[in-house]
Symmetry: C2
Subunit: 199 residues, 2 copies
C-alpha cells in the first residue's frame, strides 16, 4: 500500500496542489501557468506532466474533491429539521458542519469561488444545493406545481446561499463558524418576515 514510490508521488502531488491553490488565490486561475506552479513547488516542469495532463485537469481534480465532500454534508440537511430549529430559535448542526467545512478549505474555495475564480464551479455548487435542499423544500408549496416558477425560485435561493458563502470567504472568515451559522439563521428569519412590509 505505502511503497516508497507511492509516497513520493503523493508528496509531490500534495506539493503541486498546495502551491497551485496559493497561486490561483493570488493571481487567478487564468494567470497561473504550469511553469509558475513548478517554480513555486520546487519541482521540475516536466514532473508536473507526469501527474497531470495540464492545469485544467488539476483544477478539475481539486473541484471534484471539494464538491464531493460538500455534497456529503449538504445531504445531511433535512428541511423539516431546519424549520424545527428555526422555530425553536436554535442553531441547526448540519449548517454549522457546512460552515466548518468551508472554513477548513477556505483557501481553495476562495481561489475557486472568488473574483478570479471559476463560474462553472459556482454553478456546480448551486446544483448540489438545489438538488438536495430545494426540491424538498419548495415542493411543499402550492406554487411549486409551476415548473417554470420552480426553476427560477431554485436559482434565486441557491444563488443567495452561495452569495453568503462567497461574502464570508471574501472577508477572510472574520466571522467565526458559529457566527456564520447564526447569521444564516437570522437571514432565514428575516426573509420569513418580509411580508410585514407588503401587507
Amino acid at each position: 500500500m505505502a511503497s516508497i514510490h507511492e509516497e513520493m508521488v503523493q508528496k509531490t502531488k500534495t506539493q503541486i496542489q498546495y502551491h497551485f491553490i496559493a497561486l490561483v488565490e493570488e493571481d487567478g486561475f487564468s494567470q497561473v501557468s504550469v511553469k509558475k506552479i513548478a517554480e513555486r513547488a520546487n519541482i521540475n516542469r516536466g514532473t508536473f506532466y507526469l501527474h497531470y495532463v495540464d492545469k485544467y485537469e488539476l483544477m478539475d481534480h481539486l473541484q471534484q474533491q471539494l464538491l464531493n465532500e460538500l455534497q456529503a454534508r449538504i445531504t445531511a440537511i433535512l428541511p423539516k429539521e431546519v424549520f424545527m430549529a428555526l422555530h425553536q430559535q436554535q442553531l441547526y448542526p448540519p449548517f454549522v458542519a457546512i460552515f466548518q467545512f468551508i472554513s477548513e478549505h477556505a483557501h481553495a474555495l476562495r481561489a475557486i469561488l472568488g473574483d478570479k475564480g471559476d463560474p462553472s464551479f459556482a454553478k456546480k455548487v448551486k446544483r448540489v444545493f438545489g438538488e438536495v435542499l430545494l426540491e424538498r423544500l419548495i415542493s411543499q408549496h402550492p406554487a411549486a406545481k409551476d415548473e417554470e416558477f420552480l426553476k427560477y425560485m431554485n436559482a434565486f435561493m441557491t444563488s443567495a446561499i452561495l452569495g453568503v458563502i462567497q461574502e464570508w470567504l471574501e472577508n477572510c472568515e472574520e466571522q467565526s463558524v458559529e457566527e456564520m451559522a447564526k447569521i444564516h439563521f437570522q437571514i432565514l428569519k428575516f426573509i420569513s418576515q418580509l411580508r410585514t412590509f407588503i401587507e
Copy 2:
C-alpha cells in the same frame, strides 16, 4: 464630428466588439485570443492593437458600458413603489425595463455572466444592485442596525437577484420580458410568505 476616418475607426471597433462577444460566448474569455478575434472580424491582427491594448482592455470597455447602462436603470427603482406594486398585484415598470435591457444585450451578458464568464463582473453587478436597492430597503428593518448582518443580507439578496438573471440568460430567454417580470414578482411574493412554514 463624422469624418470618414472616424467612421472607419468606429466601424472597425464595432466589428471587433461584435465578434469578440460571439467568441467569448462560444469558448469563454480565457480561450479567446487576439488572433482569433482578428480572424473572425476579418481584420489584421495588427489592427486590433491600434484600438485596444489587449483583450483585457476590450473586455473592461465592454463591461463598463453595460454596467453604466444597467446602473441607470436600477437607479430608477424606488422600494416604496415596489411594495405598492406588490400589494396591488401589478408589475413594476422599472423591473420590466431592466429585464428589457438584459434581453437586448443577452449575448454580451451571457458571455460575461455565464459559465465561462468573469466572476468579477458578477460582483460589480451585485454591488450596483446593493448600492441602489438594498441600502434603502433593509435600512427600514430593525435588524438593519447590525452592520454585520446587513452585509450578509446584502450578499444574500443581490446574489439571489443576479442568480435569477443568470438562469434566464442560460435558458436563452425562453421566457419573455413580461414573463420574467411576472416570475420576479412571484418570487418576491413567495419569499414574503415563507413564514407560514416556520410559525
